[in-house]
Amino acid sequence: MKRYVFRRLLVAIPSLLIASLIVFSLPRLLPGDVVQLMLEEKAYGKDLDDLRAKLGLNRPMYIQYVEWLGQVARGDLGESLWTRRPVLEELARRLPISLELGVLALAFAIVIAVPIGVVAAIRQDTLADYAMRSMAILGLSVPGFWIATLCVLLPAIWWGWSPPIQFTAFSVSPWAHFAQFLLPAFILGIASAAAIMRLTRGTLLEVLRQDYVRTAWAKGLRERVVVLKHSLKNALIPVVTVLGIQVAQILGGTVIFESIFGLPGMGRFLFDAINQRDYPVIQGVNLLIVSVVVLMNLIVDAFYAFLDPRIRY
């Protein structure tokens, strides 16, 4: 097990390096030079070359890349070209907000999806099953930003109520702080819930056809025990694996949802940075997101071996 985790970490290193190269070079290809933009809007330097030199953008790209990698290894993500604030500091402030949104969304997804998946599986091919499966496909099809838009729009029209779009810090009011995440997290979790529900149903159906489940029935155990205790545990193993993918999905979704609901998290930070061509910020956020996803997949894989003792690495 230890050896496996170690080996997986080793394999993750080249992937992360390639990813870091992508992270680094993508924003630099952005048309519309940041230097031009800054000169026009803020008059930070005398002329283009002066400002370029000030920002350290006048050296060859590969030198900038190696330097940046060195900085990252020392835990320094540079500072924003616009606000001159350290990227790491900004991320430390914004990451908890995105994490709160993401974790809540994932929790919603699991709590909704697993019971529905179980019911759909044990009532296979009944009307309830068809209805739930159609709902799941619908959940995968409806764009989250549309539901979010309607959730802001319709209550305002009907009852004159709209969800809060002013961010409330935890220290100001814990309940208001928590409550503002509920609606965005729920909508963000819908697509993941649909995917998890379909997978739960599929794997549970497979497990229910196994011999040991027939034995459990033959022993005269109640349905609850057979399904929940004997079958569901094994059926959930593949579900754990897709959670890694869902985390990536949800992290991407924060870009849209934080903008609509006015949450000052990482996603909105990235969105603004892309619009402003703020290289260090784009690099920093992307690198953090990729690291989280890679780490998450590693944890999922290790957990997988723990859940299923038959798996030996």
């Binding site: 390639i18 764009p143 892309i274 990729v290």
Partner: protein
């Protein structure tokens, strides 16, 4: 001795067919009918897809107005007999814009999926066939590519390329290829276990011949399924990008863009501006997902129960 060929549909029903074109048509129709009977939801999806394609192809004839035509004195009119889905804040007919929007979605969807699947087949089949160092290198790049959340990469890519229909196709296609190539690679490796591949090699067939004539046709079903499900995902992605302002530039009517931008503040007075484009996206993606699901059940039982958005 001439035997009467008996075809067995993938769901197990026997379908007899004789050679000759009229009965061939009959057999195809029978296949279709069986599909409708056994997969009603899939058939519904197929119907939605057909409607979408019709709208996309014949938009100029179906839409009562041009997509950028401003109707004098027609700002934010509620849905009614003249404007089925109302008009927007600039006095444009929402129904016409939704109809024209179908062609944007279909163009981006099909373009991106075509590119994604050609690339996925190229990467997947060669990676699975050659194996070894080549496979390891390619797979690490795919790993790295896949560890980015979908929306994050695509946003960065669209910022690099700039908004536009062609760029959208390019970005979505390249991105979709990574996930697809994994599936094709897996299918290729499993097809390679067959003795006919060994036989072909023993007969002296070259690498290219084996890949083109033996492997590719046998992973084709997988690719078709990937494509159908990918279409829904591509349309969804296009709408999200246009919503964020990185997709198709105005005034061209993308469903996603219709939900965002300057019109947003007017939606409190004209909610139909928000309702119809979103409903159109949902319905289109729903259709492709339903059809894709049914096709997967019929064509490739091994892929059943995978669940989830494929291009992510």
């Amino acid at each position: 001795m001439q035997s009467n060929p008996v075809e067995v549909a993938p769901w197990g029903d026997r379908i007899s067919s004789k050679s000759g074109s009229p009965s061939h048509t009959a057999a195809v129709l029978q296949h279709l009918w069986q599909f409708v009977r056994h997969k009603p939801l899939g058939a519904l999806g197929g119907f939605i897809v057909l409607v979408l394609l019709t709208l996309a192809l014949f938009a100029p004839w179906i839409a009562p107005y041009k997509y950028d035509e401003t109707i004098p004195g027609g700002r934010m009119k509620a849905p009614g007999a003249q404007f089925w889905m109302g008009t927007d804040n600039l006095g444009r007919d929402v129904f016409s814009r939704v109809v024209y929007g179908a062609s944007v979605s279909v163009t981006v969807g099909f373009g991106a999926v075509l590119l994604a699947n050609v690339l996925a087949a190229l990467i997947g089949v060669t990676s699975g066939y050659f194996g070894g160092a080549y496979d390891i290198c390619v797979q690490r790049v795919v790993d790295a590519w896949q560890s980015f959340p979908f929306l994050v990469v695509i946003l960065s890519m669209m910022a690099v390329l700039g908004p536009g229909l062609l760029n959208l196709v390019l970005a979505l296609g390249v991105l979709g290829a990574a996930a697809g190539s994994r599936v094709v690679r897996g299918a290729t490796i499993s097809v390679m276990q067959n003795t006919y591949v060994e036989a072909a090699r023993a007969l002296g067939a070259g690498h290219l011949r084996i890949m083109l004539c033996y492997l590719l046709p046998n992973v084709a079903a997988t690719i078709i399924i990937l494509a159908t499900i990918g279409l829904g995902a591509a349309i969804l992605a296009e709408s999200a990008l246009s919503f964020l302002g990185f997709g198709v530039p105005p005034p061209y009517p993308s469903w996603g863009a219709m939900l965002s931008g300057s019109g947003r503040s007017f939606m409190y007075r004209a909610p139909w501006m928000a309702i119809w484009p979103g409903a159109a996206i949902s319905l289109a993606v729903f259709g492709f997902n339903m059809l894709g699901d049914a096709l997967r059940d019929v064509l490739d039982p091994r892929l059943r129960g995978g669940g989830g958005r494929p291009v992510s």
